[in-house]
């Protein structure tokens, strides 16, 4: 029997919830941080806000974030989410970011989620801004045409990896064991050890089989830790 992963994310309830989720994954907006939001869900909804609702400030910080944290993104899940996205503009955006990060081969499939003619970032005036300022080098040769002056790139707008790892449990586990479903499952279990296997799989978008293995291994280590503590007390 095959166990499908639950893939479909639940959209944040309103712009304030999205802003808090973005702060929760290390984007420095003036809002309280959501507690450890799912990274790929937040990236997808931020890109929809930027590309569909023309929020270029969000898009600028998102691109900077991706430039810093791409090694810790679950490329498989992000690719599936973006491929299921209806908006051609959103798919073009992610295809462009994947091409920018082409040296990371995990993003090869993401680079191909957009096909067809190129897309202008600005729905009016894009050609004018391109003539005036040239092209943003991060998007050069990709499917999204971005003038150089539009998306500012300030690393201070984004938490560095070390600080984000201290704040976000799943990110920390991704640093330790790699950006995989297993890392997110482990983080979810650490946060809520009483989760059933099915609930754990749903919460972290993992398969039932992977969730089952993570629960088994988590229990094993919990047992080892208990024994070690007991031995210490006897000595």
């Amino acid at each position: 029997m095959a166990f499908n992963r639950a893939m479909v994310p639940i959209a944040p309830a309103g712009p304030n919830a999205l802003t808090s989720a973005m702060v929760g994954i290390g984007m420095n907006f003036a809002a309280p941080a959501a507690s450890e939001p799912n990274i790929e869900d937040t990236l997808l909804f931020a890109s929809v806000e930027g590309m569909q609702n023309a929020d270029l400030r969000v898009l600028a910080v998102l691109v900077t974030w991706f430039g810093i944290h791409a090694p810790y993104v679950n490329a498989d899940r992000l690719t599936k989410l973006v491929a299921a996205e209806k908006s051609d503009r959103v798919r073009a955006f992610w295809s462009a970011l994947a091409r920018w990060q082409a040296k990371d081969r995990r993003f090869n499939r993401l680079a191909n989620v957009h096909s067809g003619p190129g897309v202008d970032l600005l729905t009016t005036g894009n050609a004018f801004q391109m003539r005036r300022h040239g092209e943003d080098a991060r998007f050069a040769g990709g499917p999204l045409s971005v003038p150089a002056n539009v998306l500012r790139d300030r690393p201070a707008d984004v938490l560095p990896s070390g600080r984000l790892a201290r704040r976000h449990r799943a990110y920390r586990w991704r640093v330790i064991i790699g950006p995989s479903y297993r890392a997110d499952l482990w983080a979810a279990l650490e946060r809520e050890p009483s989760l059933s296997t099915a609930m754990l799989a749903r919460k972290a978008y993992g398969s039932f089989a992977t969730a089952w293995h993570v629960r088994r291994d988590f229990a094993l280590l919990a047992d080892v830790t208990k024994r070690a503590l007991a031995t210490k007390r006897i000595k």
């Binding site: 023309a54 270029l56 600028a60 009016t124 005036g125 801004q129 002056n149 539009v150």
Partner: protein, 92 residues
């Protein structure tokens, strides 16, 4: 105190004994934001939030159109502000 809609003028919000507080009027604020939208392209959200009327856009276009000597600027301004009008349902 409600802001007055004035051209080339400030609205006085507070006139105390030792301190006065002025702010740009609505039309001048719209001019500044719509110019910024045409100039750097990132202010669409703010411009839509300010919701200029069709009449306000028509008033502002000639002013923004002469703020840059680039020969393509006037056409760029007209296209950009027409887009703002369309998004606001003015049928420009």
């Amino acid at each position: 105190m409600q802001p007055r809609e004035t051209l080339d003028a400030f609205d006085r919000y507070l006139a105390g004994r030792d301190l006065g507080l002025d702010a740009v009027g609505r039309i001048d604020l719209l001019r500044a934001k719509l110019f910024a939208l045409c100039d750097r392209g990132i202010d669409l959200g703010d411009c839509l939030a300010l919701a200029p009327t069709a009449e306000e856009l028509a008033t502002i276009v000639p002013w923004v159109a002469v703020q840059d000597i680039n020969p393509d600027w006037p056409a760029h301004v007209r296209a950009t502000l027409a887009d703002v009008g369309r998004r606001l349902g003015h049928g420009v």
